[in-house]
């Protein structure tokens, strides 16, 4: 009796093994099919609104296509890429963008962490503290940017007067500093909010235990809070880096891209919309897309090893 069973199951194992395929039951298969069907509308819309524009941009970037000379459209292969990648304007814009991204995100991270700690710790007037911290994030960027511009304009602005009446927005480095300041002012609260959510996940008992184990306040922060917050920090950095890399509105209002302060988005806009050069503009869009994809990829790789408390590098 028992022997037949073993034989049978042995045969079954043999039959399945060579294929190395998971055999799904009837119900499981139906369920999977239903799952795909339910996803289909969303997937279709996603394709229509994201994939198609991307594909079309890639197509355009391979054409010589200037709306000022529409009849000279032709396929030029990678010529546009060569043009853009050998242009000093493009590389200046890349450096401006990278520097602004790195500097503003680093400052935002430090300030945001400080704000998050303050908001997490305040016991009295919690609501007021949190609300007032978030105000800058609630103001429309363009409105805030105009306020900054007037504040820095000699003759009308109080900040310009404070700085001795120099027209700071007309020189490259000071102008970039002002743009970074405006960015930091505006998005630090967002960073703080994301980090605060991460802070709330650090159990109080762990901090008490660390205090008894002999950790000073700073050691508790670096050895317990930061490692446990790593996923939250990465999420906040990812959002902010992607956002900062595509900086446009503050720059547009504050400097308009003059004195070599154009970011890559600004340069793309100038070529595509103002210059009506669809070929070059699309090439730049595609390059920005690739850069953003690389940034996202790096962060997602980091997430993999970020989950604290797992032996196998987060792939649970």
């Amino acid at each position: 009796m028992s022997q037949t069973t073993t034989e049978k199951s042995g045969a079954a194992v043999k039959a399945v093994e060579p294929k190395k395929k998971v055999v799904l039951s009837e119900g499981k298969r139906a369920e999977r099919k239903l799952g795909w069907l339910l996803c289909a509308p969303a997937a279709f819309i996603m394709l229509a609104v994201t994939a198609w524009p991307i594909i079309y941009s890639v197509y355009l970037s391979l054409q010589r296509y200037d709306l000022k000379f529409p009849d000279r459209q032709e396929f030029v292969g990678l010529d546009n890429y060569v043009t853009v990648l050998s242009s000093p304007y493009w590389w200046n814009a890349v450096w401006v963008t990278v520097v602004m991204t790195v500097v503003s995100v680093v400052i935002e991270l430090v300030l945001g962490m400080a704000l998050a700690l303050i908001m997490h710790r305040t016991l009295v007037g919690r609501g007021i503290v949190r609300t007032s911290t978030l105000i800058p994030y609630g103001i429309v960027t363009v409105v805030a940017a105009f306020s900054w511009r007037y504040a820095w304009t000699p003759g009308t602005g109080y900040l310009a007067e404070l700085m001795g009446g120099d027209p700071v927005l007309t020189e490259k480095i000071p102008a970039l500093a002002v743009v970074i300041l405006a960015e930091v002012w505006k998005t630090t609260p967002f960073m703080a909010l994301l980090l605060m959510a991460g802070l709330a996940l650090v159990p109080d008992d762990l901090l008490k235990a660390a205090a008894l184990d002999g950790a000073s306040g700073w050691q508790r922060f670096t050895k317990v809070i930061l490692p446990l917050m790593k996923p939250a920090i990465l999420v906040a950095l990812l959002f902010r880096t992607l956002d900062a890399f595509r900086i446009f509105d503050n720059l547009f209002v504050l400097t308009g891209g003059s004195q070599g302060t154009s970011s890559v988005s600004m340069l793309t806009y100038n070529n595509l919309i103002k210059g009506l050069n669809l070929g070059i503009g699309s090439t730049m869009s595609v390059l920005i897309f690739i850069a953003v994809a690389i940034i996202a990829f790096i962060f997602i790789k980091l997430f993999g090893t970020a989950a604290p408390g797992s032996d196998d590098g987060g792939k649970r």
Partner: protein
């Protein structure tokens, strides 16, 4: 190692809650002391004040003769085990246990040795390189203990360390905690709400209620000589039976019948200036099936006859449950005990419930009448208004 003295220690939280009032405890060097009481009675607060995690509102805390009220937790040289274990999830077991040593800048070789020693004691050797999330509850609990013992602190504080474990493991760990404390000889303050842990573990037990200390003493002493109704009801399982009674001319009139006081008890009651209404307390083991009581003993006690509601045979002896007609004993302390054990509703079905522990040889049967004898010299009398034990004597 050091003795710990709490001198009129009081804790008032910022929201006005008075969690601990004027607690006086002297803990000797190397002593294993238990803080026990229902939840919310201020045990954790007391422990956190010793650790330095909560400020002391008034009073003084001395460790090794020095006032430490103002000292930060890390400068008190005390280790604590939390109910949640509080292991660092991003560190391996080895790193968790080494953490206090690394912070103290101990050299690598010593860290290695101490961690390995602790792992040997706690049988964690093969888990050193795993993360806490991959360990079972019992293993995590041992890691938490390991982290406490590696640095040989002056004292261990434990806040309900076993209450997240299942019943079987809890019993097992109870003995290992006890063994560990004896082995290390370090002062230990252990918080629990479980009276069984309190009875079995400590050298001395501190019973707390509503932020105040009710009684301090060795487990057996608290069992035999509870200072008040609360301690009497809290210590012991199954707990003491309480029956309301009138006291007239040296006779107790109660649902158990009219019981004349023995000379010893009469003298104590007179000295204590007892009120006319009292609560009689009798431990379950002071009852016996009257058929099994020898003739010469019988005179020292009293018998009553009642229907056996439930009979549980434990092998070594039997628990027989009765319901006597009459009103249940009422007092603030008994109400609180009932609320804590979750029997507030269950017991109010009219009549006085009695639990007796009788010999396994008893022929009593469920649903039938049985005659039960109890030792009249073992009864304790309490004042229902204050809860004071009228038969309390410091022996």
């Amino acid at each position: 190692m050091a003795e710990i003295v709490l001198d009129k220690v009081t804790k008032k939280y910022p929201d006005g809650a008075l969690a601990v009032q004027e607690v006086d405890i002297e803990i000797a060097d190397g002593e294993f002391i238990i803080l026990v009481g229902p939840s919310g009675c201020g045990k954790s607060t007391t422990l956190n004040m010793i650790a330095g995690l909560e400020d002391i509102t008034t009073g003084e805390l001395r460790i090794g003769g020095e006032r430490v009220n103002e000292r930060a937790p890390k400068d008190r040289d005390i280790a604590m085990v939390f109910q949640s274990y509080a292991l660092y999830p991003h560190m391996t077991v080895r790193e968790n246990m080494a953490f206090p040593l690394r912070l103290a800048k101990v050299d690598n070789a010593t860290v290695e040795k101490k961690v390995n020693d602790a792992a040997d004691i706690l049988d964690l050797g093969q888990h050193l390189d795993r993360k806490p999330s991959n360990l079972s509850g019992g293993q995590r609990q041992r890691v938490a203990m390991g982290r406490a013992i590696v640095r040989s602190p002056k004292a261990f504080l434990m806040d309900e360390p076993l209450s997240n474990l299942d019943a079987k493991l809890r019993v097992q760990m109870r003995t290992s905690v006890s063994r560990l404390q004896k082995q290390l000889g370090t002062t230990m303050v252990y918080v629990t709400h479980d009276q069984t842990e309190a009875m079995t573990l400590g050298d001395r037990v501190v019973v707390m209620r509503g932020g105040a200390v009710q009684q301090i003493g060795a487990p057996q002493y608290l069992y035999d000589h509870p200072a008040n109704l609360f301690v009497a009801g809290f210590i012991g399982s199954p707990s003491m039976n309480f029956v309301p009674a009138g006291l007239e001319d040296g006779v107790l009139r109660s649902p158990l019948g009219d019981v004349p006081l023995t000379d010893r008890i009469r003298r104590m009651v007179e000295a204590a200036d007892a009120p006319r209404e009292v609560i009689v307390g009798i431990r379950p083991e002071h009852f016996e099936d009257s058929k099994l009581v020898e003739e010469h003993q019988r005179g020292g006690g009293h018998t009553f006859t009642s229907n056996v509601d439930v009979l549980e045979s434990m092998g070594s002896d039997k628990f027989a449950y009765f319901t006597l007609s009459g009103e249940q004993a009422t007092s603030a302390e008994l109400a609180e005990l009932a609320a804590d054990s979750g029997t507030a509703e269950a017991g109010s079905g009219g009549g006085v419930p009695i639990v007796t522990r009788i010999s396994a040889a008893s022929g009593a049967r469920e649903g039938e009448q049985a005659e039960i004898w109890f030792n009249a010299d073992k009864v304790q009398l309490f004042d229902p208004a204050t809860g004071r034990n009228l038969t309390y004597s410091e022996e």
